[in-house]
């Protein structure tokens, strides 16, 4: 009875706190400007199914893709077991679904066990890649400190979770063999794929009392890990397991080369080109607060840029494909996403704490991302192509450039010349427009 109460309190508390954090993240994302990403729902469902559920883009690199798939499938399927844990926890029953499901139960738990072994192997491989093989993309400057700790912590939590599952099932199997499991009054075997071996071989030597304790340690440990994992997610890069789905659904479906059109500029340019426009007319009052050209801080970006930032799992495929980063420049598309997320959290927490009018005097551009970084971009779209969850770092880089150029007129001096040339003679170089057709008559 007490166990059931503790369980229920943890259940409500754990899921409740998770819910609170989800709402907080949602409101942070909605700090961004609006952008329409609801057209073509058919294509969106297809993209989400292929890219998030089917992990299509992960398979551009087959080895990590297979390892990742092992953990991913194990994680999803293990949630089935969680239903029983919650039912057992609230009612005080033991393996409540075993008798009603029969052979199906044995099959389901066996699948979970096999996948858990796959996840265990993958987790160890991932830990080795990060800490022993030291893969270059995990050693970049932006990974120092919390990001590396975060990644290792998540992997260690996965290890603990797998050990809990086998302690629980193994000890219970050993008990069953002795006719002492709470699942049945008779002696026998659950017949689960892995624990029918783990049970006798690892837990066979323990007394019935110790086994009951071990089984409970495994069971409660599993439950604690689930809650710990759930509530750590919103603070971790591991949040991608949830946001990958909406983030791919809201993908940019246009050609990657198409940059967004700035409608606020269109209105002014049309006015400039209109010979009938009255130069002395009072300017038409814009609706709402005037929009900044480009982006300086969080609220200048779109909600999709911000969702991208929360979805990033810091894998660094973008950075490893970035021509600027490969050649030693400061730009790292992953850092752009991490900076955007960190600044968003700081910005939103500041407003929450000190009121909506609060300004902390900081901004994404300047305090987090430097001009040197954004000017190193070749807009080649390699980062966008690489991202397994369709994040678009280039969209943020372009909006930061727009702010610098159009609001502050700050850019590398050669670009000022290039822009002047386009404006004066219709080419990025100083050639007379009248000479444009000269090539026709040259040898």
């Amino acid at each position: 009875m007490i166990a059931a109460i503790i369980f229920s309190v943890l259940l409500i508390g754990g899921f409740g706190w998770f819910g609170v954090n989800i709402l907080k993240i949602r409101s942070n994302i909605l700090l961004g400007r609006d952008v329409n990403r609801k057209d073509k729902p058919g294509e969106r469902w297809k993209t989400m199914t292929l890219v998030a559920l089917g992990q299509k883009k992960m398979f551009a690199r087959p080895i990590p893709a297979l390892l990742h798939l092992g953990i991913y499938v194990a994680f999803v399927i293990t949630q089935v077991e969680l239903i029983e844990i919650i039912y057992d926890g609230i009612t005080g029953s033991h393996r409540a679904f075993m008798s009603s499901l029969g052979g199906l139960y044995t099959l389901a738990v066996s699948i979970i066990e096999v996948l858990s072994v796959a996840a265990l192997i993958a987790t160890i491989a991932f830990l080795s890649r990060r800490n022993i093989l030291k893969l270059a993309r995990f050693q970049k400057p932006e990974m120092k400190g919390f990001p590396t700790f975060d990644a290792n912590l998540i992997l260690c939590m996965e290890l603990v979770l797998v050990f809990c599952i086998f302690t629980m099932n193994g000890a219970d199997e050993a008990l069953y063999l002795k006719g002492a499991s709470h699942a049945s009054h008779e002696a026998g075997s659950f017949g689960f794929a892995i624990s029918s071996w783990v049970g006798p071989h690892i837990f066979g030597g323990f007394s019935v009392e110790t086994l009951h304790i071990l089984e409970r340690v495994g069971w409660w440990g599993h439950w604690f890990m689930v809650l710990a994992f759930l509530n750590y997610l919103p603070y971790s890069k591991h949040f991608h397991i949830l946001l990958a789905f909406p983030n791919t659904w809201y993908s940019n479906l246009e050609k990657k080369g198409k940059f967004t059109n700035m409608e606020s500029v269109t209105a002014e340019v049309k006015l400039m080109l209109d010979p009938t426009a009255d130069p002395y007319a009072a300017p038409v009052a814009a609706e709402g607060t005037p929009q900044r050209f480009g982006a300086k801080d969080i609220n200048d970006l779109t909600w999709k840029n911000l969702m991208d930032a929360y979805t990033c799992t810091e894998c660094g495929r973008c950075t490893s494909a970035c021509p600027a980063n490969i050649t030693g420049k400061k730009l790292s598309p992953r850092k752009i996403m991490m900076d955007t997320r960190d600044r968003m959290v700081e910005y939103a927490d500041g407003k929450r704490k000190n009121g909506l009018d609060y300004e902390d005097g900081k901004s994404l551009l300047g305090d987090y991302i430097t001009e040197e970084e954004i000017w190193a971009c070749t807009s080649c779209n390699a980062c966008v192509q690489e991202c397994p969850v369709n994040i678009d770092p280039l969209a943020i880089i372009v909006d930061l450039r727009r702010y610098l150029v159009m609001e502050e007129s700050k850019m590398p001096t050669e670009l000022t010349g290039m822009l002047t040339n386009i404006e004066n003679n219709g080419a990025p170089w100083q050639f007379s427009p009248a000479d444009r057709g000269n090539w026709i008559h040259e040898d």
Binding site: K255, G257, K258, C380, V405, E414, W439
Partner: protein, 263 residues
């Protein structure tokens, strides 16, 4: 080499004619000495196939691509609106260009400003001309058995998913197409995109075009083919950096085809 025939839109209109397609030459193709050769190679192909085309000549102006990539939307839209007025004035329906940056901008970014045209890259047009039998390459051509690698321009490949047209053309040369380790969707930029062409690179430990040229050298190809005047410049500089300009040529796909057709 035969003389080329390049009518302008204004001349055609004066004669009451309408071309089937506008050849958008672009700033590079009009002013850059190296790129002008690509322009002329394409013209020779168009002339050979009796394509009814015209150029804008002095009425053409920068599409605004480098301004937009640099973040100056005002300059971009001013250019775009003026170009759209000219294009619509001549009732242009279809455009071909040998520059992937012009291609991308005209195709993807002009429609929202009112300029709606069918835009194709020159490799796509040449592919059509060969497939329809209008252009015939000579048997056992000059490139037979040569190793050619193709550098994917970012604004043609990743930006617009055109990967096959240039490759199909290289295969028509009876040449051996060898791929670099980073190609198609994984292709590495030449370093010129995003207005980088017009500025010094930020501090780093290498130039992007040098890194990319290493990929090309690894293939042992004697010809690096491109489909972009800016990639051409960057790869040519990269080859010079390795003092290989006597062994390796950097050529546009249009030049390869024009040579193979003995135009």
């Amino acid at each position: 080499m035969s003389t080329i025939h390049v009518p302008t839109m204004a001349e055609m209109m004066a004669q009451g004619q309408t071309p089937d397609i506008l050849f958008w030459v672009g700033c590079s193709g009009s002013f850059d000495d190296r790129a002008k050769k690509i322009t002329k190679a394409l013209v020779r192909i168009l002339n050979e196939c009796k394509v009814n085309f015209a150029v804008l000549g002095a009425e053409e102006s920068c599409t605004g691509d480098p301004a937009k990539r640099a973040g100056n939307e005002f300059t971009f839209q001013m250019q775009a609106m003026m170009n759209i007025q000219v294009l619509d004035g001549y009732e242009v329906k279809k455009i071909v260009t040998a520059c992937p940056h012009c291609f991308n901008t005209l195709k993807n970014e002009y429609p929202e400003l009112g300029g709606k045209y069918e835009v194709i890259h020159h490799t796509q047009l040449i592919q059509e001309l060969i497939n329809s039998g209008k252009l015939k390459l000579k048997e056992g051509g000059v490139f037979k058995g040569k190793k050619i690698t193709f550098h994917d321009p970012c604004y043609l490949g990743r930006a617009n998913d055109v990967y096959e047209a240039p490759r199909m053309l290289i295969e028509k040369l009876d040449a051996e197409l060898v791929e670099m380790k980073r190609c198609k969707t994984n292709g590495l930029c030449c370093g010129a995109g995003g207005a980088q062409m017009f500025k010094e690179a930020e501090k780093g430990n290498k130039e992007v075009n040098v890194e990319r040229t290493e990929d090309a050298l690894e293939t042992q190809a004697t010809i690096i083919a491109t489909g972009c005047p800016f990639c051409n410049t960057m790869m040519t500089d990269g080859v010079k950096n390795f003092n290989k300009e006597n062994e390796i040529q950097v050529l546009d796909v249009a030049e390869l085809i024009a040579n193979a057709a003995e135009l």
